[in-house]
């Protein structure tokens, strides 16, 4: 007699939640993540193309209200709009050393579906609080970190990296004339950005309808 296949831990969790009347977890659509990105959790995005991936996620989910917070603002909003994101859905904040408090206020308001931070929060106590706030408000908190941190409170980790480009011979720039040719700028508009690849490092969630 054939033994039935053992269910995955995520499936058991989903079943238990159903029995206990907990609403089904929602997912954000993303073409690079099969099944989507879970809502109401902390997600950590690493790699050299992490901001590009984040913007592409916002573009694919136009109704999302997003809170983008940084200590010192380095994001260029023009670039976000150029990539097809409606800036009226993006509230930005430059928080300095009051980042966590501002973040907490934003999450408690339950007005946002997405909250984006430039880096990870290392302190475990803060992470726990943030995880609770994220779950309460059903908002996904994205850490755009340089290196990934290993903690149980981050259930979804992903790396987005630029694909290397073939090397082209580089001409000497020091010998260029003082006046440059303006017309060449027009060709750049159609030039696309390099592609990036996405690797899911950790995911504790499954979407039942995903393949």
């Amino acid at each position: 007699m054939e033994r039935p296949e053992r269910p995955q831990l995520a499936e058991i969790r989903e079943k238990l939640a159903q029995w206990n009347g907990i609403p089904k977890r929602e997912f954000l659509d993303c073409d690079t993540v099969p099944g989507g990105v879970p809502r109401g959790v902390i997600c950590e995005i690493t790699g050299s193309a992490r901001t590009e991936w984040m913007i592409s996620l916002l573009r694919q989910n136009p109704p999302l209200q997003t809170f983008w917070i940084e200590e010192q603002l380095t994001i260029l909003p023009t670039a976000i709009q150029q990539r097809g994101v409606d800036l009226s859905r993006l509230l930005m904040a430059e928080a300095g050393d009051r980042l966590f408090q501002a973040l907490r206020k934003a999450l408690r308001s339950r007005l946002f579906d997405c909250v984006v931070l430039p880096g990870a929060i290392d302190e475990v106590k803060m992470l726990k609080a943030l995880q609770l706030f994220a779950r309460e408000s059903n908002a996904t908190v994205f850490f755009l970190s340089k290196v990934s941190i290993h903690t149980w409170s981050i259930p979804f980790q992903l790396a987005a990296n630029w694909n290397s480009i073939e090397s082209h011979p580089v001409k000497s720039l020091n010998t260029q004339p003082a006046l440059f040719r303006v017309s060449e700028g027009q060709n750049l508009i159609s030039e696309s950005l390099p592609t990036y690849s996405v690797e899911i490092i950790k995911s504790k969630f499954t979407r039942s309808e995903c393949p």
Binding site: R50, L76, T78, Q81, Q82, L87, L91, A102, R181, L193
Partner: protein
């Protein structure tokens, strides 16, 4: 016709009653006030909007918010509603004959007439008539000859008083609330201050809601005990709200942040004896009956907009002005001028589609000098090998502006990173941003 009467057994000041009557405008536009005693609201034409049962609950909650315990009754006309509320009876027939005073002068504007009614009541009581049901048994033809013409007027009003004209009442012109505290309340910290401010704000926003208005500019002040150490006995804060607020819940976090910030720098050294709040500017808000014509979606959209405005104000108080914003793109090509910080969510955006090449996602506030030697870039003390330089994009301003022109390149590095480098006319290279 259905008339509701909010009756206050303890006499209250006329101005306070007018404040509550103003808040009651949310129920119906037809309101009359009996001096320091009662408020009449015509609710017969609003039966489709709310039930009488829900009105009773809401009216009681509202009057409690203003600090009174009102007795609320609903009847077919003004005098019977007032008499039922005053004598706490279930039907008009069971009312005592003393209630004829309310039938003769329901708005309390004729003191002479009231004295005459007193004599009438005494005469009727001498005959052993105690209730209005018994009074109704006296033939109306005999009333003028036996008790005078007033008795006939009372009888007519008892039978039908719906034709009674409503006196004019206009709401107060200023939105101002004051809260006086006793020295024993020891209010000198932020939490008790906010506690008292909350009830005051509830009242003021209740009045605004009655008029279908929202607050745009609010002044909040405290008066302190005049100790010899108190330098500023009156402290005042002015709030210019980005999104006009229609509820105390939205304004309170903004007030908390401002007081937190200000009182942590200049604490108060004596007890607060008066809190004052006034609305200096208003904008039209949503109508009181929100669900009647608007869809649920548009209602929730309005709610969300107001909540977002409240959060924006709170964060602005917390982080400082212009530290929280919506980005608004401009027609300028220079990256630092290509966008501005806006405090409006739906600020008009420039159309950037195919206007110029893709900008990097991250940008340095101050461009970092970089040394370029053939295919090598020396940047922050580290060497990088470039694999590809894009074509040049030249950015320059008009001749009036003396900003030098810049030639921008997208430089792909070994390992996948891409920098955004520019050179000035003197061939100095700078990294201005990177694609992340």
């Amino acid at each position: 016709m259905r008339v509701a009467c909010l009756f206050f057994s303890k006499p209250s000041s006329q101005s306070k009653l007018s404040d509550l009557a103003e808040a009651c405008l949310r129920f119906s536009p037809q309101i009359a006030v009996r001096e320091s005693e009662a408020i009449f609201i015509e609710i017969g034409k609003c039966q489709a909007l709310y039930s009488e049962r829900s009105f009773l609950f809401r009216a009681q909650v509202l009057s409690r918010r203003f600090g009174w315990d009102a007795r609320v009754t609903i009847s077919d006309d003004i005098p019977s509603a007032l008499a039922l509320a005053r004598h706490a009876k279930a039907s008009v027939d069971s009312l005592p004959v003393e209630s004829l005073v309310d039938f003769a002068d329901p708005f309390g504007v004729d003191p002479k007439g009231r004295a005459s009614i007193g004599a009438l009541v005494e005469a009727v009581q001498r005959l052993g008539i105690e209730t209005l049901a018994e009074f109704k048994t006296i033939p109306s033809q005999s009333l003028p000859s036996r008790f005078g013409s007033l008795s006939l007027l009372c009888r007519q009003r008892l039978e039908n008083a719906s034709h009674l004209p409503w006196p004019t009442w206009s709401p107060p012109e200023h939105f101002e609330e004051k809260c006086e505290l006793l020295p024993s309340e020891y209010c000198s910290e932020i939490e008790p201050l906010l506690f008292y401010a909350k009830s005051m704000l509830d009242r003021i926003f209740g009045r605004l809601r009655g008029r279908a208005l929202r607050a745009e500019r609010i002044a909040f002040s405290i008066e302190l005990e005049k100790y010899s150490t108190t330098k500023e006995p009156i402290r005042e804060w002015l709030f210019e709200l980005i999104t006009p607020q229609g509820a105390a819940l939205g304004f309170l976090p903004i007030l908390r942040e401002r007081l937190n910030w200000d009182l942590s720098r200049t604490p108060i050294h004596s007890y607060v004896h008066t809190l004052k709040c006034s609305v200096l500017a208003t904008t039209p808000g949503r109508s009181a009956q929100r669900d009647l014509f608007a869809s649920h979606d548009s209602n929730s959209q309005l709610d969300q907009q107001e909540a977002l405005g409240s959060l924006f104000g709170e964060l602005e108080e917390f982080l400082g002005k212009s530290h929280v914003f919506w980005a608004q793109t401009t027609e300028e090509r220079f990256p630092e001028r290509s966008w501005v910080r806006a405090s409006q969510k739906d600020a008009p955006q420039a159309d950037l589609q195919d206007r110029y090449p893709k900008r990097p996602t991250r940008i340095f506030k101050n461009p970092v000098p970089v040394t370029v030697i053939q295919d090598r870039l020396v940047f922050k003390g580290r060497k990088f090998k470039s694999t590809r330089w894009s074509k040049v994009e030249r950015l320059s301003l008009d001749w009036l502006n003396d900003t030098p022109a810049r030639n921008y390149y997208r430089v792909d590095l070994e390992g996948g990173q891409t920098l955004w480098v520019f050179s000035d006319p003197q061939h100095h290279y700078f990294v201005h941003g990177y694609f992340e």
